[in-house]
């Protein structure tokens, strides 16, 4: 199957087929970012990043709980499982051209940290799946958690802010997951700006503007 990148309305529509709204992505990322900002120089150097990863997964699970999603930490992969039990999502830090429509399907975006055999098997399984599963309907036996497709909610912090996308990994090179069959890139990114850079959370960030939304109703 040919790799595809969903953007604009198409991205929102694709999220809908997975039972997700854009806010289901924005809210966990925003809350995780706020938690990561509680780290200071007196924490371990990787604390902000670790906090972001753990809390992003937690907040995503909390966000989806009311809709019947469940979770699994099997093999130390923090997954949030669709109520149908037919696919899961995990938040993972990434590097490269995250959130960019023009990124190549292989090599341009990769997981930030090396992954072990459990993730390797998961990705291999993703790659061997038939053409994209269909979420609603289709009553089948509930598969094993380690055999269902797992989407990666990829996020990357830089001085420009936080970039993110929801992508289906299908291959690795070395210890890094770097090949994607399907990518969902939302147009709107409320996390632009250096204040969302996890690595620089402790620095005094100059020229950061808090936006005060003011909308003219159009009639005076």
């Amino acid at each position: 199957m040919e790799a595809v990148c969903h953007v604009g309305d198409d991205a929102v529509q694709r999220l809908h087929t997975l039972g997700l709204e854009p806010d289901d992505i924005y809210v966990p990322l925003g809350r995780a970012s706020a938690e990561a900002r509680l780290s200071t120089e007196l924490d371990s150097p990787g604390m902000a990043g670790y906090t972001f990863w753990s809390r992003c997964n937690r907040f995503f699970r909390e966000q989806m709980q009311d809709d019947g999603w469940t979770y699994s930490n099997s093999q130390q992969i923090l997954r949030c499982i669709h109520p149908s039990g037919r696919f899961a999502i995990t938040a993972v830090s990434a590097s490269g051209n995250v959130g960019e429509e023009g990124a190549s399907w292989s090599g341009d975006i990769r997981t930030k940290n090396p992954k072990g055999p459990a993730v390797a098997r998961l990705v291999q399984w993703n790659g061997e799946q038939l053409a994209l599963f269909h979420v609603p309907g289709q009553r089948v036996e509930t598969p094993d958690i380690n055999e269902i497709p797992t989407w990666f909610l990829l996020y990357k912090s830089s001085k420009e802010g936080l970039a993110f996308e929801l992508s289906m990994p299908v291959d690795m090179h070395g210890k890094y997951v770097d090949t994607w069959r399907e990518r969902i890139v939302l147009d709107e990114n409320p996390f632009r700006g250096p204040e969302f850079d996890i690595k620089r959370l402790d620095e005094a960030v100059e020229d950061v503007t808090v936006d005060v939304p003011v909308e003219f109703k159009g009639a005076i």
């Binding site: 706020a34 007196l42 003011v214 003219f216 005076i220």
Partner: protein
């Protein structure tokens, strides 16, 4: 037809007693009392005299009734040292700013109030809680005014003729929070005042009325903890910091040097002796009365956007003032220092640390 509550509001706004207004207008005290009580209506000629003496359009006095801001709803610093005239003038100015806000809300969608009330917490705990709720972590706050505005607080300028009054705050109808800032102060002190007033809004709600030295101390502690969070300060390694180190460290938090020195003492990072000698040293360097080489005063993003949108729509400021039944001068006093000043309809001046003799002119 005279709306008596408006005559009272205007007189208080101009810091006038009945006898002073009588002198200025030539209308007897007895008549003024009757007008204010609603027992008698002035003739059109008398109303003209009153309007002229109070420097407001005649239309102001016949507009709809205005409900005064209750004294108990306000957090004035050093209330006991303030004259009743000063206090009432500031209250009346605050009420007019509420009218300005209402005018804006009818034409613009503005951020909804999102300021928690935490009267059961200590100032330190409350500051930490608000930081967590607003997702601020342990980092410095780049701009207090913008932060407040983004959480639905309406920030106005304390009119220059109320400068004897410090900043104050209130929740109008127990809903929309307002903060009035004295913009004569340094940028650092303005930020601290804004955080202090946020402390009143957060701590002194519900059953706790915002008065007295205890409430003021609590608001000071809140401001200190909010602007300089404990964990962030500890991470800066400021143990036993001297004046030189404090002058360097304060830039991160955009606070006054003396405020940081006090925070370090409060957190037990400097001894009493070190604190006293440091403050003395800072005082000799001029950091007691002002803030040499300080930051530029913060401005309003909300008001800036509103006035920009009005300009873009060719809506003159004079028309806004007409809608509000006040003069352009009066309107200017409430937004002064918070929005760029329009000089000739196109150009904007930059902000100044000194209050210049410029005003917002209809564009």
């Amino acid at each position: 037809m005279l709306t008596s509550s408006r005559l009272i509001l205007a007189r208080k706004r101009r810091r006038m007693t009945l006898s002073r207004l009588s002198q200025e207008s030539g209308v007897s005290v007895r008549s003024l009392t009757a007008f204010e009580n609603g027992h008698k209506a002035p003739s059109p000629e008398t109303l003209d005299l009153l309007a002229s003496a109070l420097d407001l359009p005649v239309s102001f006095f016949s507009a709809s009734e205005v409900e005064e801001i209750e004294i108990d709803a306000l957090s004035f610093r050093a209330l006991s040292k303030m004259s009743a005239l000063d206090r009432d003038s500031a209250r009346a100015a605050g009420r007019l700013a509420i009218e300005i806000n209402q005018w804006m809300e009818e034409r613009f969608t503005l951020p909804k109030p999102n300021v928690p009330t935490l009267p059961h917490l200590s100032p330190e705990e409350a500051a930490e809680r608000v930081r967590a709720l607003w997702g601020l972590g342990e980092a410095p706050i780049p701009n207090m005014v913008h932060l407040l505005e983004s959480h639905g607080v309406r920030v106005f300028s304390l009119a220059a003729d109320c400068a004897s009054v410090d900043a104050f705050s209130l929740r109008w109808k127990e809903k929309t929070p307002f903060i009035y800032l004295n913009l004569e102060k340094s940028g650092e002190r303005g930020r601290f005042d804004a955080a202090h007033e946020l402390g009143h809004l957060v701590l002194h709600a519900q059953h706790r009325i915002p008065h007295g030295p205890e409430a003021e101390n609590e608001a000071q502690q809140f401001a200190s903890a909010f602007l300089m969070p404990r964990s962030g300060i500890l991470a800066q390694m400021l143990h036993n910091a001297d004046a030189k180190r404090i002058l360097s460290a304060k830039k991160k938090w955009k606070v006054a040097a003396v405020a940081l020195a006090y925070r370090l003492k409060d957190l037990g990072l400097v001894t009493d002796w070190r604190y006293r000698t440091t403050v003395k040293h800072l005082s000799q360097m001029g950091y007691r009365r002002g803030e040499p080489d300080g930051i530029i005063r913060e401005s309003s993003q909300l008001l800036g956007k509103v006035f920009s949108a009005l300009r873009a729509s060719d809506f003159p400021t004079s028309k806004m003032a007409d809608d509000l039944n006040i003069t352009v001068d009066e309107l200017n006093r409430h937004v002064f220092g918070l929005v760029p000043l329009v000089i000739d309809g196109e150009q904007e001046s930059s902000y100044s640390k000194v209050r210049p003799n410029l005003r917002l002119v209809s564009g």
